[in-house]
Amino acid sequence: MFRLVSRYIKSTVDSEDVLIMAFTKVFANISSFSDRGEGSFEGWIRKVVVNEALMWLRRRHNFNMTETLGEGSDPVDLGAFSGLPAEEISRFISELPNGYRTVFNLFVIEGYTHLEIAGMLEISESTSRTQLFKAKTLLKKTLTQEGFHYGT
């Protein structure tokens, strides 16, 4: 769970604080979890931790401060990026800005839709799409620069 929080929040100290708050809520509301086939206990804890991290980010970051791109943007090829080791992928993701990183984590890693992300971050759906597109573009660009450095 600490890795999960670290993907959303860069600072280790803040990640620990958020994790403590999340587990406090887990233990306080553990009676509300009911195993009725809606999901695993781990998934429930994961959702609580992600929500706590998002609450922490919403208090400190404005996700609406980005320009919206039009429709019809070319999809970004992440084939080379997905071929990297997990540690490298996690490091690249942690280098992204707050808005890009949060939307990328929610959409690609957690599997939420843009509509759900828009509701969670209190942004529009197009903003969520734009943030994801920019995150992928930046990852590809960073990967290219890293390959350039490795190549030289």
């Binding site: 769970m1 600490f2 890795r3 999960l4 993907r7 620990e16 999809p75 970004v76 090829d77 992440l78 084939g79 990026f81 997905s82 071929g83 080791p85 997990a86 540690e87 992928i89 996690s90 993701i93 959409f107 690609v108 890693i109 599997g111």
Partner: protein
Amino acid sequence: MEHEDELRIREKIKDLDHAPQAWDKELVWSSIRFHGTKPARRIVVYYAAASLALAVAIIFYSVELTERVALRARISELDLALEQTRNAVRPKETNQAALIAECPEANQAPVQLPRVAKHLNRTEPAMIVRGKEPVEPNPSLPQTEVAKETPQTEVIVATPIEQIDPINEPASPPTSLVILGKSLTVADHSAQKKGRLKMRLFQGEDDEAIGTSSSTPITTLASINN
């Protein structure tokens, strides 16, 4: 293609999340102890500040209370001295009041004097007749001064035009007797006021000029006023 890449990334990241994270247990425990003692220090500081503020407030209140007590004592002393002074002055005033009460004249009603009606006679000179009368020389004075001081005889013919009684004023304007001329006529005073240039001297239709009348008056002012 894009969706497959995302799935691969998701799988890799989730596998990584399940891997244990290396952590420094001692550092975490020290951090927990530090966080546990830090609020205590803050609380101590807050308690100290609150105690100091309370002590200062009590000191200020006690000082103010002492000053108030001293001020009240001073006011009571002044009131006592003022009361004593009043008691010392009050017997004299009562003696004076008793003396005034015992005096019989002070109890009598003031004597009201009868109101005296003042009759003012206003006269208006109508004619001044001047003539020379032989004056007996004063042997004590020199001859030149006798000649100077020989007064001319002045006869003032006056007609009473108004007799004012301040209490009971007459309802009708007063009438006066014209004592010049050949005969006595009763003339209206208002007519005399309006046209002084023309005087009705005789009974008849034609007026007679003043210059042609006799210069000898019938009576004099002294005889009228007497």
